[in-house]
């Protein structure tokens, strides 16, 4: 493997401007996340009074100290459901992958400090994505639950009462049942409110821990009960922890406090098969890249038209900055090759421009080779899409592009996508965006996902209008031309905004935006998560675990 030599001038104005832009963007993301935390902080006094831990305190208490933690989709729901600048973002659940008693697990902490941990469209989408990851990685799910169920206020969605959200949300419960049957244990602490939908989330879990004087788990709470049947009952009688532990047997373990319930959950995880990483042996010793990770912030420019060499990214994430390039003299736009990362073998497919027929062929062949040698694939997106034009079409662009997509989808080893910059059109698919079900997909702040660029879309619209006018012999007036220009500008600006990383991530088109400097860690962490899958040690059954 040859060592990559950097051509990046870290003293240059361009580099520093790029770093400044990237840092400012990350700061913006941290601010959005921070606004949510501020909302949570407002609940502190009430939580303390009730002897409860805040959601994030529960999370920390659950996780092994010092063990790595990958949080997912922090921006979910940003600017939707009534959210302005992150005050209520996150989908009311905190989701991530961490370690509990040495075992890698998916964690889901219901953020009761934001809107009572109620369920909105972002919650459902984030929850479904978590379950998708669970199916793919066989990671057990530990849920620290406290949710008021579906958000009746709707949170500013146009049709909060539509069956759409309700039916969509039902997928979560269906998949909980499927997860149990798939041999993926779900451990849930019911910390407090668990009404209706919140109750099913708890009761569909394989292990349920109830917290004395806190759990209130029922189909209908006292007000709804009174409204529905006229029956009067208090919370404890209807759904208290003691009641469920001794009478209804909806839970197996009775804990004394938030911390105690989490202790029990940790103990349950400790009874699961031993840490899967025990069965993995690295392909080689871990070696740091030659160039520091922070330089990753200075590669991509704010202006998406400024080109850069993706080898500069590889040089800062690969072990020893070594890259064994595949077909290095063929098609300069699609770059493929082998690396070691964190001591693991991996293939990389990346772009220095559009994907040509030659590039698609090269990538497809490389995918098949890596599939044969069971080598995971890392996709680093930087493409404006498949190349268009007579030469490209005649060169079989559609055929080769389609077959590349086919190769990507059917590629069996782990797939991890990092959207570094442009990721447009079918190129977005071919580079394995969320739609092609990679194990994980993360975006840099500079990422852009769309069917095409804003300028191109505006141009297409203008040309289509002009063509139609020409066909019918109609002359386009100056006034009409002005309107068309304005519409074009709006389309361009609008599409630019809608393709931006923050917009896409808020709508769960990825698993989150990462600081470029964290790229190597994110890849190693997710790669190990995937590689462990076959060693989790749990077994599927037919109907899932029943509670009698």
């Amino acid at each position: 493997m040859s060592q990559l030599e950097t051509k990046l001038d870290t003293e240059s104005d361009d580099f520093n401007a790029n770093v400044a832009f990237m840092k400012a963007y990350m700061e913006r993301i941290r601010t959005i996340e921070g606004n949510g935390r501020k909302t949570e902080e407002k609940y502190r006094e009430r939580a303390t009074k009730k002897g409860k831990l805040l959601p994030r305190e529960r999370l920390v208490h659950l996780l092994d100290p010092g063990a790595p933690f990958l949080e997912l989709s922090t921006l979910a729901g940003h600017t939707i459901n009534g959210d302005k600048e992150g005050e209520t973002a996150g989908g009311n659940i905190i989701v991530g992958i961490g370690f509990v008693n040495g075992r890698r697990v998916l964690v889901m902490v219901w953020n009761y400090a934001i809107k009572g941990g109620t369920i909105n469209s972002a919650t459902t989408k984030k929850n479904l994505r978590l379950q998708e990851i669970a199916f793919a990685t066989k990671l057990p799910i530990v849920s620290l639950s406290e949710s008021g169920g579906g958000n009746l206020a709707g949170g500013g969605e146009p049709d909060p009462w539509s069956a759409y959200g309700f039916i969509d949300g039902g997928r979560v419960y269906a998949q909980q049942a499927e997860l149990s049957a798939a041999g993926i244990p779900q451990v849930t602490v019911s910390h407090g409110n668990a009404t209706a939908g919140g109750a099913y989330q708890v009761a569909l879990s394989d292990y349920v821990i109830l917290v004395r004087n806190q759990t209130h788990l029922f189909l209908a709470g006292p007000p709804l009960l009174k409204a529905a049947t006229g029956e009067e009952a208090d919370h404890e009688t209807l759904g208290g922890a003691e009641m469920h532990a001794t009478i209804s047997q909806t839970g197996e373990y009775l804990a004394e406090s938030d911390a105690d319930g989490i202790r029990v959950a940790r103990n349950i995880v400790a009874q699961l098969p031993p840490p899967a990483e025990r069965y993995l042996t690295r392909d080689s010793e871990i070696e740091a890249p030659l160039y520091p990770a922070h330089e990753l912030r200075g590669i991509v420019a704010e202006d998406k038209r400024v080109p850069y060499d993706m080898r500069e990214v590889i040089a800062r994430i690969a072990d020893g900055s070594r890259f064994f390039e595949f077909e290095p003299v063929m098609d300069q736009h699609t770059v493929c090759g082998h690396v070691m990362i964190g001591g693991w073998r991996a293939g990389i497919i990346t772009n220095n421009g559009p994907i040509t027929p030659e590039g698609a062929k090269k990538a497809s062949q490389f995918l098949q080779l890596c599939d044969q040698s069971n080598t995971p694939m890392i996709f680093l997106h930087n493409t404006t899409g498949f190349l268009v034009g007579v030469e490209a079409e005649q060169g079989g662009q559609v055929k080769h592009g389609s077959k590349m997509i086919q190769a990507v989808v059917n590629f069996r080893p782990p797939k991890i996508s990092i959207i570094v910059g442009n990721s447009y059109g079918a190129g977005n698919y071919a580079m394995c965006s969320l739609s092609l079900k990679p194990a994980f997909v993360f975006s840099w702040p500079t990422a852009r996902q769309a069917v095409m660029g804003g300028a191109q879309a505006a141009g297409v619209l203008r040309i289509v209008t002009e063509d139609r006018a020409k066909a019918t012999g109609r002359v386009i007036s100056d006034e009409e031309r002005d309107t068309m220009a304005k519409t074009g500008e709006m389309v361009e600006a609008g599409l630019e905004q809608l393709s931006e990383s923050v917009y896409c991530s808020s709508r769960l088109m990825d698993d989150g935006i990462i600081d470029p400097a964290d790229t190597r860690e994110v890849i190693i962490f997710t790669l190990e998560t995937c590689k462990e899958t076959e060693h989790r040690g749990t077994k599927p059954n037919t109907f899932g675990v029943q509670r009698f």
Binding site: R30, E33, G34, R37, R56, E57, L59, V60, H61, D64, P65, G66, A67, P68, F69, L70, E71, T74, G96, F99, G102, R212, E242, T246, L254, A255, E256, S257, A259, D260, R263, R266, E277, I286, G342, G512, I514, D515, D518, E521, V522, I524, F525
Partner: protein, 672 residues
């Protein structure tokens, strides 16, 4: 001695005991560090060494060092190392023709010495007669007085009734010491300041003496206050040669147990050394001593010295003498036992430099020096220049409750006393002993005390003030380090997260005190919040048992061991033990101890054992229910009074039906 080789055992028994018999194989009738040390010299001299061991010591270091081993079975000393018949049988089975008794156990047992002789086995030590005489304080004292060895004014008569003892004490004058005549090791000793306390002290000493030594004979001695304990090492061969190997100063004692020993004594003058040496030689000659031994003296502030007792064995502290004389005392014991002449004459001996020894115990100085048992997680001895460590341990060794809790002796040699002292402190810091509480911190403090540095330590040196200084308590930086340690993961992405760091809370128990530490991972390390203090620990690197860290710009290494929630941290001058209680279970409030006893099953009440007003203890059976041919006992869940019984014998009850109500006595929750 002649040149005849060893003859057959029968032939030897018929001859004069010991004559003509030479050693071929040595059985070491001891355990721990001394067994290791003896095996070492035995093997170095070209003999095979046989170890005997109890079940508890089956995996001990000394067992592994020996060429042959024999299990004595049992755990207690009485079942093993004190069982003479088993040891004699072991010697015969292994073909060992000599037994080295080490110290303690059978080393000063005249009966055992005689038994060895009877069985044709060489006892590496003095004759039964010498042991017997010196083992009886009163008899020894009478003999010493007649041999011109200065003795403390006192009473060692045969009349042992309380009236006689009281009257003799009054003649001697107060303060006075009441001692078991057969005593040793600090037991059966009472210091009596006033006449009024005498009678009860005599009674107590008598009981203790009878219990410990099987004899309740007491002696009285004038108490020499602020005295020094100085002893003289002697060696005597079968041919009447006796030499002394200078003195050892063992003044630093805690409850009459030696803690620090050194040679030479900082209090010594050339004249006094010669006088004491001569007295010691005379004492040995008086009992026709054969072997190495120690004559102990008390020396008062005016340098008057008094015979205390003679230890007819190798002493624990013998290494300090070895280090200043370059003599291997065990090797010398073997030569003497082989009937050889002493390899040295008095004039051949000179004092070279200074040596100090400390005894490392598994004990908790902060908790009344309570012996500690369990697994020694980590043991790494110092490898510094001039340092010797005699030990019988290894990482992972178990310290059992059956024997003395001494783990090791650390000895440092220096050209002068100060160099030896400095080296010893450093050696203590460098020696890592983790997983069990030891007296290491206490020893470092003793060696650092002004009085000790000046060489002015007397037997009253270890005062309460010194003890207080030796237990400085836990510092916030210690808690911070323990928390940093908890925040280390085996994963290569240790501490990494793509998310904003979150504040973590850990609770740590040190002794009885619970501490809360909040921590935040930073780019460089950790911010730790303890009470109102913020401590930054940076550049943390964690290895298997070492934590490298930077605090206030200084980089240091802490050694640690961790077994689940038990953490031991060695910071060199201090060793701390933490118990992490972050994930300890919360005591249920309503469940246990509610006083509401409910049926655990549906069934038939076959017996009701209480009636209202009865006082019950936790766990008492209250009601018995029969269900599915099984009896289910329903027990009191606390201590209290029965306030109501809601069922009768013969009654069918439902599951969870309330059977008995108790008014429980409030129990103070000590965990709060």
């Amino acid at each position: 001695m002649g040149d005849s080789p060893a003859c057959d055992v029968r032939c030897w028994v018929e001859n004069k005991p010991g004559e003509g018999k030479v050693i071929t194989k040595v059985l070491v009738a001891n355990r721990g560090e001394i067994a290791c040390r003896v095996i070492d010299s035995v093997q170095a001299a070209g003999y095979d060494a046989v170890a005997v061991h109890s079940d508890a010591d089956a995996k001990a270091l000394f067992v592994g060092l020996a060429d042959e081993t024999i299990s004595l079975g049992g755990n207690t000393s009485a079942e093993s190392y004190l069982d003479m018949d088993k040891i004699i049988a072991a010697a015969k089975a292994s073909g060992a023709d000599a037994i080295h008794p080490g110290y303690g156990f059978l080393s000063e047992n005249a009966e055992f010495s005689a038994l060895c002789q009877k069985n044709g086995i060489i006892f590496i030590g003095p004759s039964a007669t010498a042991i017997e005489i010196m083992g009886n304080k009163s008899e020894a004292k009478r003999l010493m007085i007649s041999s011109a060895v200065p003795c403390i004014p006192g009473y060692q008569g045969e009349a042992q009734d309380t009236v006689s003892l009281v009257s003799e004490a009054n003649t001697i004058g107060f303060p006075v010491m009441v001692k078991a005549a057969a005593g040793g090791g600090g037991r059966g000793i009472r210091f009596v300041e006033k006449a009024a306390e005498l009678e009860s002290a005599i009674e107590a000493a008598r009981t203790e003496a009878l219990h410990a030594f099987g004899s309740d004979e007491l002696i009285l001695e004038k108490a020499v206050v602020n005295s020094r304990h100085i002893e003289v090492q002697i060696a005597a061969d079968r041919h009447g040669h006796v030499i002394h190997l200078f003195e050892r100063d063992c003044s630093a004692q805690r409850r009459h147990q030696k803690v620090i020993e050194e040679a030479p004594s900082p209090f010594m003058t050339e004249t006094l050394r010669e006088e004491m040496g001569t007295a010691a030689v005379n004492a040995a000659k008086a009992v026709k001593y054969e072997g190495v031994g120690t004559v102990e003296f008390l020396v008062d502030a005016d340098r008057n010295f008094y015979f205390l007792e003679m230890n007819t064995r190798l002493q624990v502290e013998h290494p300090v003498t070895e280090m200043i004389t370059d003599v291997d005392l065990v090797e010398m014991q073997l030569q003497i036992a082989n009937g050889e002449n002493l390899p040295l004459q008095q004039d051949d001996l000179t004092i070279n430099g200074h040596a100090i020894e400390v005894r490392i115990y598994a004990e908790d100085p902060a908790n009344g020096f309570m012996p500690q048992t369990g697994k020694l997680q980590l043991f790494e001895p110092s490898v510094d220049e001039g340092v010797r460590i005699d030990h019988g341990i290894y990482s992972g060794a178990l310290v059992s409750p059956f024997y003395d809790s001494m783990l090791a002796k650390l000895i440092a040699w220096g050209r002068d006393r100060e160099e030896a002292r400095r080296r010893l402190i450093r050696a203590l810091k460098q020696t890592k002993l983790l997983g069990l509480t030891t007296n290491k911190t206490f020893l470092i403090q003793l060696l650092s005390e002004e009085q000790f540095i000046k060489g002015e330590a007397t037997t009253s040196f270890i005062s309460d003030d010194v003890l207080t200084r030796a237990n400085p308590g836990v510092r916030n930086t210690d808690l911070a380090l323990a928390t940093v340690l908890l925040n280390q993961s085996h994963n290569d992405l240790n501490g990494w997260s793509n998310s904003v760091p979150m504040l973590r809370t850990e609770t740590l128990l040190v002794g009885d005190a619970s501490h809360t530490v909040k921590s935040l991972q930073t780019d460089n390390g950790f911010d730790l919040f303890i009470e109102d203090e913020v401590i930054q620990i940076n550049a943390v690197k964690c290895y298997e048992d070492e934590l490298v860290y930077t605090l206030d710009g200084v980089t240091r290494v802490a050694t640690f061991s961790r077994v689940e929630d038990e953490i031991s941290l060695d910071l060199g001058d201090r060793v701390l033990n933490f118990t992490r209680t972050t994930y300890h279970p919360v005591i249920a409030e309503g469940e246990a101890g509610s006083g509401l006893i409910k049926a655990s099953t549906e069934g038939l009440v076959v017996d009701v054992l209480v009636k209202p007003g009865d006082v019950v203890n936790n766990g008492d059976t209250l009601v018995i229910i029969e269900a599915m041919k099984m009896e289910h006992r329903h027990l009191a869940d606390g201590e209290g009074k029965v306030t109501s019984v809601n069922v009768n014998k013969g009654q069918q009850v439902k599951n969870r039906q309330l059977l008995v109500e108790l008014a429980l006595v409030e129990v103070v929750d000590e965990s709060a």
